[in-house]
């Protein structure tokens, strides 16, 4: 079980890295607004899709 003397310190180093990454994310304001990003992913995708659709429609009208 002496592997513990290596694996546990490694896990602690990873833990410290995780905490540091989280602190960085908090400091850069990523946790200040937790609601909007959930919407923007849906809204952005929908907007892109509609713009394509609209372009296709225009093309068809141009053809006919």
């Amino acid at each position: 079980m002496n592997i513990l003397f290596v694996s546990i310190p490694i896990s602690l180093v990873l833990l410290a890295l995780g905490v540091w990454a989280f602190f960085w994310a908090v400091r850069s304001g990523q946790y200040d607004d937790l609601d909007s990003p959930a919407y923007s992913i849906l809204l952005d995708e929908e907007t892109e899709r509609r713009q394509h659709q609209r372009k296709d429609n225009d093309d068809q009208q141009g053809d006919s």
């Binding site: 513990l4 896990s11 602690l12 908090v26 946790y31 609601d35 909007s36 919407y39 809204l43 929908e46």
Partner: protein
């Protein structure tokens, strides 16, 4: 048509035939303002907004909000120095508070729409605080253009001073986040090592390994206790210094002694360490604190309203009538200022030149604009509608009416019954009992078996932690608040929900609350061969240039060219020429002079406006401040719930009585000043009434604060919203009734939660004292009871949630694909 305006959701007035095209279908809109906004949104390809917004958008204030000239004063360096920050790269940065910004879809719309505008470096909108952070290149674009852009979308921007409280809220939130993650990760690690140690105790373990596990446990637990748990210790020390032990004292005692004993055992040897228990304990305490903090921050979302009411700049007339733009704060008593039409009066004063009508509705509740001539007094914050006025300033700063109302407001807030004080008293008593019990138990076990005395006392302190008890109320309130926001009622004060469940009386303001707060055409009668919507277009063309309040009722159609040679006859009406034909519109007896017909007695009661040409009367319009369509139903629901409903208005007795009759309200009071309203509330409260006050104006602000619980309409003034405990979105009164039901459900959940956690604590106390509960089991029991309480609170959120939920969003996407 019956569905209301596609953009803002308000009913479309009769005779208005404006539409916007979306996906080949024509959607009705109520006014050119909404049409312009909707077209802007659709043309820039951002129409997904309409699918995902949970709320109808704000109704744009016609063209005024979109006019860059309205904002030009914000381009002045003197004004900008207060709220614009210059960065090193030559960019400017400003915080703006946006009206009507409540949902994430609105935030998205503003961001997408502005980020492509020339000169904009960055725009970040936070719907939770209603604020936008704008960074722009001052050499490429002027701030007034960008502000007008926001106004064009229906979100009127107001500059916010870089205010300490806001950034403090963010700092507090970030620090809480960091402590939470340190406690959470530390807890997981400590528990993992604890499992190893338990197995070791059971199956035997090499002492070197055991010592190593204890050391690493100490390593992960130390930041949890010393960093994450720091606020708990600080709170406990503060409580002890004030000699009023709160919840923090036994909690800090448990964490502190548990940690200290474990450190001792780690280095000096002993049977047991408690790092797992105390880290878990700390984490759950921090979760409870975080939930409470989030609720508190939401309460501060809209602030600094009074400052917004008074314009930032004024035009001072120096000697020789030279105009000079100065900050309003620099005005002195005796200064003469020029107030242009459409501008806000900067301070209280007397008119020295000019004659105009002034809108004081936000201050006095009077629905009709007031005529003000030379010698008349005008109040800072009111809006000059008609022509330019020259005013001699009489009161500035603290002496103005606005400040006076602000002081009334603060006084009323100070009188607010403090529910929290009671909770503190209970906690102090409970904590004292726990501390005495813990000391007794420790002393008793010391005599029986000194080795068990410490773990048992520790287990008791952990088990009796009122953690579930302290989570019981905030989690239920948070869930209830969330639910109400989905139903269109924003709760901005934590105690509003609690009080709402106990309401016995509802007091409503009239202007702007029960009514829409602006004149509109409620009835049209065609008198000649001309169809009524044609007559409406002619009326709109005639009134196009008029600033009279009645003219605003006709502003919703601009499809016809404005009339020529228009002339306003004071006290009678307006006449003008369209396509060569002469028309008259106004008081019936004056209008019929044009065709020379006899006046029609039907239209003599003062509420009708007649339109005629030389051949005879064309149409009659009835113009009134319309009662909100859902008002009757909402009042009925409230009365059915057993509440006494009454009206308290600053308006004249006739319109108030009329509205009361239409709505089936028996008790009403007219011509009430804010002091009168407050006195009325006090009288009711002395008879043990719990009052819900609903209002919208500045004049309502102190009354809103004085009521047990209050709601302001989101179309109302910012000050009213700040002083109210709740904000009604979309001006829908019927949401209040829904809110009352939700509040009662929330209260039931709180009671269940309190009972559950009290039972748990009461049953654990003797068990732990008797030594049946080891510290780790106490910590798990504490955690489980907290989880049960949280899950119970979440039931409030689950069914029937309005607004955009995930399934709704997906359905919208699928619907979009098939279309």
């Amino acid at each position: 048509m019956n569905e209301g305006c596609f953009h803002c959701g308000e009913p479309v007035p009769s005779g208005v035939t404006l539409t916007v095209n979306l996906d080949g279908a024509a959607r009705a809109v109520c006014c050119t303002g909404c049409q312009a906004v909707a077209n802007t949104i659709i043309d820039s390809g951002l129409d997904a907004f309409y699918q995902f917004r949970p709320e109808p958008a704000g109704r744009p204030e016609m063209d005024a909000d979109a006019d860059p000239s309205r904002y030009t004063s914000f381009d002045e360096p003197r004004v900008q120095k207060d709220f614009v920050h210059h960065s090193a790269e030559g960019l400017c940065e400003a915080n703006l508070l946006l009206d009507n910004l409540y949902c994430a879809a609105c935030g998205w719309l503003i961001e997408r729409s502005l980020e492509d505008a020339p000169g904009v470096e960055e725009i970040r909108v936070n719907p939770a605080s209603g604020r936008a952070l704008l960074r722009w290149d001052p050499n490429a674009v002027r701030l007034s253009r960008l502000m007008a852009h926001m106004g064009r979308l229906g979100y009127k921007p107001n500059p916010v001073l870089p205010e300490a409280t806001q950034s403090q809220a963010i700092r507090e939130r970030r620090s809480a986040m960091r402590r939470l993650i340190v406690a959470g990760l530390g807890m997981m690690q400590a528990m993992m090592f604890a499992v190893g140690l338990y197995f070791g105790q059971h199956y035997g373990m090499d002492p070197v390994h055991e010592q190593f596990l204890r050391l690493v446990s100490l390593l992960v637990a130390t930041p949890v206790v010393l960093y994450a748990g720091l606020p708990i210790f600080i709170g406990a020390i503060r409580d002890l210094r004030n000699a009023s032990p709160g919840m923090d004292v036994p909690v800090a005692l448990a964490i502190g002694t548990g940690y200290g004993a474990s450190v001792w055992v780690t280095f000096m040897g002993g049977a047991e360490i408690y790092f797992d228990s105390i880290t878990m304990f700390t984490f759950f305490l921090l979760v409870a604190r975080y939930v409470e903090m989030a609720a508190r921050h939401r309460a501060n979302a809209t602030t600094d309203a009074l400052a917004q009411l008074v314009p930032t700049t004024a035009i001072r007339l120096n000697e020789g009538s030279q105009e000079q733009e100065v900050p309003s704060g620099d005005l002195q008593v005796g200064d003469r200022v020029l107030v242009r039409s459409g501008a806000t009066v900067p301070a209280d004063g007397t008119v020295v030149r000019g004659h105009s009508s002034v809108d004081e509705s936000m201050l006095t509740g009077e629905s009709d604009p007031q005529q003000r001539g030379v010698g008349a007094r005008v109040v800072g914050g009111s809006i000059n509608i008609h022509r330019s006025l020259e005013i001699a300033i009489e009161h500035v700063g603290q002496d103005t009416m606005v400040s006076h109302i602000g002081r009334l407001l603060r006084r009323a807030q100070a009188q607010r019954p403090m529910l929290a004080r009671l909770a503190d008293q209970v906690a102090r008593w409970f904590v004292t009992v726990v501390l005495i019990a813990a000391a007794t138990v420790f002393a008793l076990w010391w005599h029986v078996d000194p080795a068990l005395a410490f773990p048992i006392t520790l287990a008791m302190l952990v088990a009796t932690c009122p953690c579930a008890l302290s989570l019981a109320t905030p989690t239920a309130l948070a869930a209830g608040t969330n639910r109400m926001a989905g139903d269109g009622l924003l709760v901005t004060r934590p105690d509003a929900l609690e009080t709402l469940a106990k309401v016995t009386h509802v007091v409503l303001d009239k202007t702007g609350t029960l009514t829409e707060g602006r004149l509109s055409v409620v009835e049209t009668q065609a008198l000649g061969t001309l169809p009524s919507h044609e007559a409406y277009r002619i009326a709109a063309a005639l009134e196009h240039h008029s600033e009279h309040p009645i003219a605003r009722a006709f502003r919703e159609d601009s499809s016809m060219r404005p009339a020529e040679d228009t002339e306003v006859i004071r006290g009678a009406g307006i006449q003008g020429r369209i396509n060569g034909r002469r028309y008259r519109m106004g008081k019936p007896d004056w209008v019929v002079e044009l065709p020379g017909t006899a006046p029609d007695p039907r239209f003599e009661d003062g509420a009708w406006i007649l339109l005629a040409d030389a051949s005879g009367p064309l149409a009659a319009f009835r113009v009134a401040d319309r009662i909100r369509p859902e008002a009757r139903e909402s009042i009925d629901t409230m009365q059915a719930l057993g509440m006494a409903v009454e009206i308290a208005s600053g308006d004249a007795p006739a319109p108030v009585g009329d509205a009361a009759k239409q709505l089936g309200i028996a008790t009403w009071h007219a011509r009430m000043s804010p002091e009168d309203k407050l006195a009325r509330l006090r009288t009711l409260q002395q008879n043990n009434a719990v009052i819900l006050m609903v209002g919208d104006g500045i004049n309502d602000a102190p009354v809103l604060a004085g009521a047990n619980v209050s709601a302001a309409l989101n179309e109302g003034t910012a000050l009213a919203q700040t002083s109210a405990g709740m904000i009604l979105l979309g001006g829908r009164l019927n949401r209040l009734a829904t809110g009352l039901t939700t509040a009662r459900r929330t209260r039931r959940i709180i009671q269940q939660n309190l009972a559950l956690s009290a039972c748990y604590n009461a049953s654990m106390l003797p068990l732990a004292a008797a030594g049946f509960v080891p510290p780790w089991l106490a910590a798990i029991g504490m955690t489980l009871s907290s989880v049960v309480v949280v899950l119970n609170a979440r039931r409030l959120n689950s069914p029937l949630r309005r607004g955009v939920t995930r399934p709704d969003a997906l359905r919208a996407l699928e619907g979009g694909t098939s279309a």
